[in-house]
Symmetry: C2
Subunit: 275 residues, 2 copies
């Protein structure tokens, strides 16, 4: 089955990294917003629980989405051979939204990387289907993914490991559980390797809804921290030894919250104001 | 005893906030640099252990400074009446350097604030005498002091409490144990109240040597994080409710390390490069 041609009229679907621990009980603001973009009561949401080792992770999201209306379909992909199964490819073909759960992002990249499933997710998103990921699922969304790294607020050489991700966007590197796990340092370290990319640090229960024009809208309870290194005056990354502080002069930070917007092209932020 | 007139030729002594946990055993780089500025083998260093509730804090520093040469003098000021004692004022009068230990900065402000000792420290510094403080002692140095606050990397309204400090500088707010205790959020919150001031976040075993021209030189093992909010485009501080994320657009960050310089007037940084 070759990828269907992309109609010229279609635009990329939303890309929705979520910082983990999103509300699943009360207003479910982030999940219901995604569900709505996926077609609401007519949605057919493919759930990919591959990052997780827990048996019920996929089913839990299926229950949540089906309680809103529409259909949830769990793709229980546990190894690379699962990711080539016709059955899962057919389910994904029908999906109007794709959701990747949390767990370990290296499970996503090692199991899905280079498979039919990964190709299909990319193609579906290019054709307008929204793709969301929470925690590990959020990290995996971008071209360059933080595999793991040491926590703390200042950048330390050698303390973050990047790996290729799913590649839905090459404009951002995502870090999640941002405030809760104190990850500014590792995000800055990741950006210091090559400042072409922008950093988005997502607090828990906070999502970046990125539209096809690369505008982010912040949804949720926490903050989105944008780290913009476009105007970096100096970085010691090339000469720093492992364990050294990476000196960075001229990092720009924006901390924005629910309702705020950030344009990844113009690099301008518009505050959300309080709810 | 009225303050002696400040000679027109004199310039302010160094102000040296230290991020806490400075090396006291090996190279003692920060302490020996301060000792040297205080006169080296001819130094007479007044040690103020008021922040600490431990009995031996002052004596410990006395031993360190005297092992380098010169004289250490502990001012055991435990309450406000101690701070008016002629004996301590005379010792301070002779001092060629003043060192404030760690502990609780609210002990420093509540016990020394408005006393002869506080006035004398300010006058001595104006006359060229270096004043160093570590941890709580560092926080106390500036006009606006972080009394306490919640940790975490994003700014949260109502989660930091400012108090008047000693007032040797009104250009900076100092936060200490910066990386170790994840304090970027509370420092940004403090700055958001009034962006005229710059934030300096000091990692442990790291000091900012601030000369009379308001140039900082970084000394030590960790990083100095400069938070410059001069170009802040937006702050939600005025309307944020307690517990809300404070939205801040346009924060500038510099992370610099040993040997680096930062000019508090021009707001320009020069990297230190690796040792």
């Amino acid at each position: 089955m070759s990828p269907s041609p992309v109609p010229e009229t279609s635009s990329r679907g939303y890309i929705i990294p979520i910082g983990g621990a999103e509300d699943k009980v009360q207003g479910k603001e982030i999940l219901s917003r995604f569900w709505s973009l996926a077609g609401g009561k007519k949605s057919q949401i493919a759930i990919i629980p591959t990052a997780s080792r827990l048996e019920d992770t996929g089913e839990r999201y299926k229950t949540i989405f089906e309680s809103m209306g529409g259909k949830g379909m769990v793709l229980s992909i546990r190894d690379r051979s699962d990711a080539e199964k016709e059955e899962y490819n057919s389910i994904l073909e029908e999906a109007t939204g794709i959701f990747m759960t949390g767990g370990n992002q290296l499970r996503l990249s090692t199991i899905l990387g280079g498979t039919r499933i990964a190709t299909q997710i990319r193609r579906k998103n290019a054709n307008g289907i929204p793709v969301a990921g929470t925690s590990a699922g959020a990290a995996f969304i971008s071209e360059h993914m933080i595999a793991f790294g040491q926590e703390g607020s200042t950048p330390i050489a050698g303390k973050v490991t990047l790996a290729p991700g799913l590649g839905l966007s090459n404009r951002v590197i995502v870090d999640q559980h941002f405030r809760q796990r104190d990850r500014l340092g590792r995000l800055m370290t990741a950006l210091a390797y090559n400042p072409f990319v922008q950093g988005i640090g997502l607090d828990e229960d906070t999502a970046a809804f990125i539209n096809h024009q690369n505008e982010i809208e912040v949804v949720g309870e926490g903050a989105l921290t944008i780290v913009d290194v476009a105007d970096l005056e100096y970085s010691s990354m090339a000469s720093a030894r492992e364990g050294d502080t990476v000196e960075l002069i001229g990092v720009k930070l924006h901390v924005i919250s629910h309702g705020a917007r950030y344009n990844l092209v113009t690099r301008k932020a518009i505050p959300g104001g309080k709810r």
